[in-house]
Symmetry: C3
């Protein structure tokens, strides 16, 4: 593989990462506008959502200072998402269906790059899958905690599970020594597809019910 | 001391650590079921409660990636606690009195291993006590923040104070050059005892009262 | 410059840092008393507010264990602020106007020392400004999340923006190779002044309004 080709592929990964950062930034910015925060609050929530997952992963791996914090381009992309949410809220809102699509794409992408980075750091497969999932969902958790919402990852949608499945696909790809470039894209697409199909079909995971609820139901309450 | 004996003792510490991880995992899982979270939410809260304290300690000490994240056995123990909470909620709930006993035991254990790890990393005695307390209570704080509850450590029970006292006993043991094995167990038991006795007797720390409250009382309101 | 002079100046920075730590500790302690937390809860919130920003900065920079955690003097200053808040709540409360002045001074100071530490660690200028702002506002964010309040940094006051402006002044000082001692004090004073003037004048940043609100207003609702 020529140096030129490697450079092209790394550039592609970087561009996809920027797209994921931008989309997650929009999710934070839109939430901030809905919560009636000021311009700075919008920027903070956009930055937390866009950069939080990568910062958590790098800090736990000991890759300090985290790349997403030292590379000004990530900061610029997150800031652009915040400003766009603030200025064009109605427009961003009206595209919110599409945002869920983009968000699922970002989830798939960050899961794959996060798991890959964790494996490259030499940690085990199960921990790498956990860190990959944390990269995918961490920004959203930080965004929701700051905004005083129950984190989306704890609500009854298939979100983190899609990310975890994607992370394990990445690990299977490494174990089978499959070529990384086409198969990692497949892992990201699989995460994306699981998330989207579960959204469209209203799938959710089972909820445990305290016995008192079950008894109330039996008695017709 | 023969290699065999050292191995036995390390194994004992590891087993006790796994027990603590399991018990803290149950506390997260039961809270998640009570909050009507789905299976994945139960696993997340179980993992946060079981592993959070150790991850915070190791990250602050620079021991990255944290051992509790890279050792799959900790992850497996935390996951088992989550699954058990989900499947056997009523059974776990009915044992909740015993869970408080186990939780106090986990608090004592994690405080001692956390303080010990911090001292081994070469930091001072007071910071080591703080980090030991953080190891003991950190998982519960993360669990409560994710679940949108006021952290138990801030509520009016003697919880973190028991942990802090245990941490200082560990430091006194090191200063007096006492043998670690019997005395560290004593420190864990002391933490456990303080927590249990304060629970049974309803002890709590004093609460500061704003002057307006005191005046209202004087006026018989 | 003689060794004696350098020592004097470092001592001055340290003393100013202790003052900032103390003031931020008071802000956490007073909030805890208002929330009716017990003595230990008061100490936890005082410590989180006083030390949180520096701990976050050092952890992200990889300076582990963080200096504010290993230097017992920071812990002692934070603890003193907690005890004072608990014992002399009414007195501290009656000085709350002055506390806002001190808090603004702490914000300016921590912003400058945080940005400076980040630049010394060799990271870029924009990331250093972000980390400096995080140092200034991070303790307050941790305090508010623990106490279940919407973080002040997200409310409609000019707070983090003052910190960010101060951080960029520090960066301009470094780029222009100006002498650090008088100019860094100027950067801290500028942050302080922006915060105080915006408080006195009731300045706030613009808030984005969802379209539905604007329409409601048009219809006189």
């Amino acid at each position: 593989m020529s140096v030129h080709t490697i450079h092209d592929r790394l550039l592609n990964v970087l561009i996809l990462n920027f797209i994921g950062t931008f989309i997650f930034g929009l999710s934070g910015g839109v939430l901030a506008v809905r919560k009636r925060l000021d311009l700075f609050g919008v920027m903070v929530l956009a930055g937390a959502a866009a950069l939080g997952g990568g910062i958590m992963r790098d800090t736990l791996l000991g890759n300090t200072p985290p790349a997403t914090l030292t590379d000004w381009r990530y900061l610029a992309v997150a800031a652009a998402a915040g400003v766009l949410s603030f200025l064009q809220y109605s427009w961003v809102e009206s595209w919110s269906g599409l945002i869920k699509v983009f968000d699922a794409a970002g989830l798939g992408l960050f899961t794959v790059t996060g798991t890959s980075a964790a494996l490259n750091a030499g940690i085990g497969q199960v921990p790498a899958a956990i860190l990959g999932t944390l990269t995918g969902v961490g920004g959203g958790v930080l965004r929701d905690i700051l905004a005083q919402e129950v984190p989306m990852v704890l609500r009854g949608e298939i979100y983190a599970l899609a990310s975890l499945i994607g992370a394990f696909i990445v690990i299977l790809i490494r174990r089978a020594h499959l070529p990384i470039i086409p198969w990692d894209v497949f892992a990201a697409l699989a995460t994306f597809a699981i998330r989207m199909v579960s959204l469209w079909c209203g799938w959710h995971l089972p909820i445990a019910r305290p016995r008192i609820d079950i008894e109330s139901e039996r008695m017709g309450l």
